[in-house]
Symmetry: C2
């Protein structure tokens, strides 16, 4: 399975009526706070790795924080953008952060966003509001074959009045570090 994902900058107020008109169904809103860490001796920027602790809460109740720790390895194949990803839930995000900091990892960057999700057929449309960056729309799906999935995602973007040519490949972390 591949994860196919397209992301563009877009004002949410212009996208919402379109989401309604194509019959996309609201699928919940969460807030995510991602902390990325510097390694005590390795330069993650150079090795193309990342270590992250994510804390997520449902905006409906605001309770019951879920946390995860994730390691992202370097690209193993430049063409397919494939990288190793190791991720597991943790009972308490603050404690996990404390463990990492105790053994020499330092918080390097934080990405905070509010994610409002909608379902549209096989696709998830997410309205992301990212602190310090602004508003984005992501269209994603999982598929066995990349090409038809990407074509479908492009069609969803177009039906929302968005231009697939505006697609951004850089992660939110990357955009924040670039200062754009």
């Amino acid at each position: 399975m591949y994860e196919v994902e397209l992301k563009v900058r877009a004002e949410h107020d212009r996208v919402r009526p379109r989401l309604e008109s194509i019959g996309a169904e609201p699928a919940g809103t969460v807030s995510q706070v991602d902390t990325y860490y510097d390694h005590p001796v390795r330069e993650f920027g150079e090795t193309d790795e990342a270590l992250r602790v994510r804390r997520e809460t449902d905006d409906e109740d605001g309770e019951g924080e879920r946390a995860k720790v994730t390691y992202k390895g370097p690209l193993v194949d430049d063409g397919s953008k494939t990288r190793e990803e190791l991720e597991t839930g943790v009972g308490d995000g603050d404690t996990m952060a404390g463990v990492l900091e105790s053994v020499g990892f330092e918080p390097a960057a934080t990405v905070e966003k509010r994610r409002e999700r909608f379902r549209h057929g096989e696709y998830t449309v997410t309205l992301d509001t990212v602190e310090g960056l602004g508003e984005f729309v992501e269209v994603e799906t999982e598929a066995e074959a990349i090409d038809p999935a990407r074509e479908g995602a492009i069609e969803v973007l177009e039906r929302l009045g968005l231009d697939p040519a505006d697609g951004i490949r850089t992660s939110y972390l990357g955009l924040l570090l670039d200062g754009t």
Copy 2:
């Protein structure tokens, strides 16, 4: 609250009839596999720290592994044996181990044990079978005041026919590393 704990070497077959005669109640058996990690650049032995991933399964069903990650800091006060401990559950022990190994931690030692627990009033009596070390009995409790709790634990040991003077203060990891 303090955790008061006494540990002695003892053959379990000699202790079990005594446990029954004093009315101690079986409280379940678990298997624990603890992996301790070397830091990529710090000498944990010198800094008196430890990083551990514990995987625990109930022996009754053998299913549903629970895993935890734990950081133990150096002693902050030599008299009271107090050290910082940060511990949180993780969804999957193998993935947590994979994250740590990916960022440069190497498995340094493994402690495997079977722990058969009994309750006796405020005390927990544990029959530990430690791979490579043999059989031990631990008596422990949590208390606001250390001295009466320790006296009570000594009394439990004596009622089990064990000699508190045989008390071992070294951890199982320490015993394994010492080769005793």
